[in-house]
Every structure is written in structure tokens, then in C-alpha cells.
Symmetry: C2
Subunit: 190 residues, 2 copies
DNA sequence: TTGATGACTGGATTTCTCATTCGGTCAGTT
DNA sequence: AACTGACCGAATGAGAAATCCAGTCATCAA
């Protein structure tokens, strides 16, 4: 083959979805950026949604890698969990495609986007649940439902970082780590 | 006076807002149900929004009374907190006006409704924060920011009852009480 | 004279119509 | 056989016209 057309398409689509979101990206546009006939895209992907899924799945892999990189074996489980969650939320906050996706989820509610956002949430929860499962096995924490715990941890994290900021003063990284430790690990009881 | 027109208006407005929501309730409709001229409403309330606020504020008072009724002095603080939060969320789930409000908040996003929903949330948080503050004074729980804690407790409760149900099997009252106790009071650490 | 009223107004919203856009196909080209 | 882009029609958007409704105020009844 002369050039890797599939790669060109993926790059073009990533660029376009990140820049304009799902709805505002047209297949003509992707074809043009990729220097490829529109029909060629359909030899690799059945439809726009499948192309989108490929791009999002790539991003999820990238995100999980970043989260893994945040882990430092020198630190305790709690500290690492904090770092991981923080990195995941940072990724959500900084990554162009994520930003566009959440915007589109809120404002336009494109069904394909709602679906993908759900997939991203599930990927995050599975990722955390995996870490929790290991922590239970290694007796770092009490026995509990890993999925439910992961779900709760994430929600609590989002509450501390995003929701609380919306109504009161934002918290810095250290304060969040402290609160996280207080509420979920030490517990409120004396 | 022959009849208490203000009372008639409040009753009519409560009925209409509960049945049709804010947007779909017309001042003509309220006037008709109350058997009152439309202009009369404007002698008591400056505009539709003020009338709405009166109705919502009445509901908040009712809700707080119900939550207080749920408290049983024989039980521990944790158990009572659980009962209170549970009752608050039950009220939210059962009360016709609440249901309509949350629906309208999600689907139509009427600004006046968004504002009122926020006021309701704030009322709930203040209510819980008050209980927390007392619990700290009486040394039932660790020292912590009462507002932030109330906020987190409520969010966590909603997560356990509403959000988790959406993606997995719903939890019953006892399971919630148990999880609530595990996560927030005992903590995950061994 | 005063509290009550409902016809009236105009800005906002909805509905209808027509024009445009874009996902997906396929006949033709290389 | 791989690739292309003109073409199709369903979906969406823009614009105009019709309708709705919050809020006013001239009028009325007591």
C-alpha cells in the first residue's frame, strides 16, 4: 500500500471530533482532512458512530495508561488511589476530546455522545474497581463490593472537586486528599 | 372579608404547579381554579415567580417537619441520620410537586425552576448541616466542616439510592443503612 | 372609594413551511 | 480491486405566521 489510509482517517477523525465535537464533525470533513475519498472511510467503519467509537476507545486506553503512570509503589494504597483518581479527573478536565464530549452531552444531548460518555464512565469505574479488588485481596482495606465502592469513590471525588466548587470555595489537592482520607478511610466515628 | 382569597389562590396554585409544573401552569388557570379574577392574584404576588416561591417554600417547611418527625431519640446519631436522609429522599420521591419540579429541571430547564430546585437543595443541606453541627458539639462524630459534610452525605445518599439503581440492582433500606455506616462512619481502613 | 375583575396588549414561544445539510450508497475511475 | 465523489433522501435548521400567556388597567359592584 502507498499510505496507511486507516491511520490517516483515525488521525483526521480524532482532530475533528476534538475540535468540533461529534455532531459538528461531518464525514466529508474527515475525508477532506485525511485526503481520502468519503467512501474509503466506509470501507473501514460501517458508519459515523463506529468511527467515533474507535476514537473514543483509543482515548480511554490513553487515559488508563496515564492513570497507571500516576501510581507510585513507594506510597500507600490510599495515597495512590487519590493520585489515580486525581489524574483521571485531570485527564477529563484537560483532554480536548473529553471537554467537547461533556459539552455536547450537556448541551445537545446527541444520543451517540451520551452512549460514549457512559462507556467512558464505565471504563473509569472498572479501572478503579480493579484496583480496589487487589487492595481487598492484599488486606489493605475492608472487604466490600469493588464496583459499588469504585462508583462511590468516583462520585465522592467528583463531589469534592467539581460539585462543591460550584457552590462554595474550591478545594486544593492537599485538602481533597485529606478529606478523602477522613471521610472514606478513617470514617467519621470517634 | 367574605372569603380568604389568598388562601384560595395558594391552594389553587399548589394544585396546579403539582399537576402541571411551573411552565404549564398559567395564571388564568390558577385564577379559574381559585374562583378569583386574575388581577386579584397580582394584589398578593408581584409575579408568577413569587407565587411559585411561596408554594415551594411551604413545601420546604412541610419537608423539614417530616424529616424531624423521623427522628427517634432512642436511636443512635448514625441511625437517626440515616432515617432523616431516607425520609428526605422519600419526600422527594413521593411528593407530587417535587416530582414535577425535578422533571421540569431535567427536561425543560425553566430558569425559575432551576432556581427553586437549588433553593430546595440548599434547604436540605442546611437542615442536615444543623444536625451535624450538634453531633460534633456532643462529640458523636469527629470535628469536620458541617456544610461540606452535609453536602457529601446527601450526595453519597443519592448515589447509593438513585444513581446506583440506574446502572445496577437497587439496594433496600437495610443495605443502604449498612453501607452508609461502613463507608462514612467506620471507614474502609482496617 | 376601594377591592375585585377580565378584556386587552405585546413579547415570547410554538407551529408550519420551505431550504439546506450531511450520512450513507454506488456507478464509475484508476 | 481499491478508491472516489456525485447523488439521494431523511433529518435538521431558518424564517414566517399563528398562538399563547404574564402582566396591566379601565371598569364595575358593593
Amino acid at each position: 500500500m502507498s499510505v496507511n489510509r486507516k491511520k490517516l482517517i483515525i488521525e483526521a477523525a480524532t482532530k475533528s471530533f476534538s475540535l468540533f465535537g461529534y455532531k459538528a464533525t461531518t464525514m466529508d470533513q474527515v475525508a477532506k482532512i485525511a485526503n481520502v475519498g468519503k467512501g474509503t472511510i466506509y470501507t473501514f467503519y460501517a458508519n459515523k458512530e463506529e468511527l467515533f467509537k474507535e476514537i473514543v476507545d483509543n482515548m480511554i486506553v490513553e487515559m488508563e495508561q496515564e492513570a497507571d503512570d500516576a501510581i507510585n509503589p513507594e506510597l500507600t494504597f490510599t495515597e495512590n488511589l487519590h493520585l489515580t483518581l486525581y489524574r483521571l479527573l485531570e485527564f477529563r478536565r484537560e483532554h480536548q476530546l473529553m471537554i467537547k464530549l461533556f459539552q455536547e452531552e450537556q448541551e445537545i444531548r446527541t444520543p451517540a455522545v451520551l452512549e460514549m460518555v457512559e462507556e467512558i464512565e464505565n471504563a473509569i469505574i472498572s479501572f478503579i474497581a480493579q484496583k480496589i479488588k487487589i487492595a481487598i485481596q492484599k488486606k489493605y482495606i475492608k472487604d466490600c463490593d469493588p464496583e459499588l465502592t469504585a462508583f462511590l469513590l468516583l462520585k465522592m471525588y467528583i463531589t469534592l472537586i467539581v460539585d462543591w466548587e460550584r457552590i462554595r470555595k474550591p478545594l486544593n489537592k492537599e485538602e481533597i486528599a485529606e478529606l478523602f482520607d477522613l471521610y472514606l478511610f478513617k470514617g467519621l466515628s470517634l
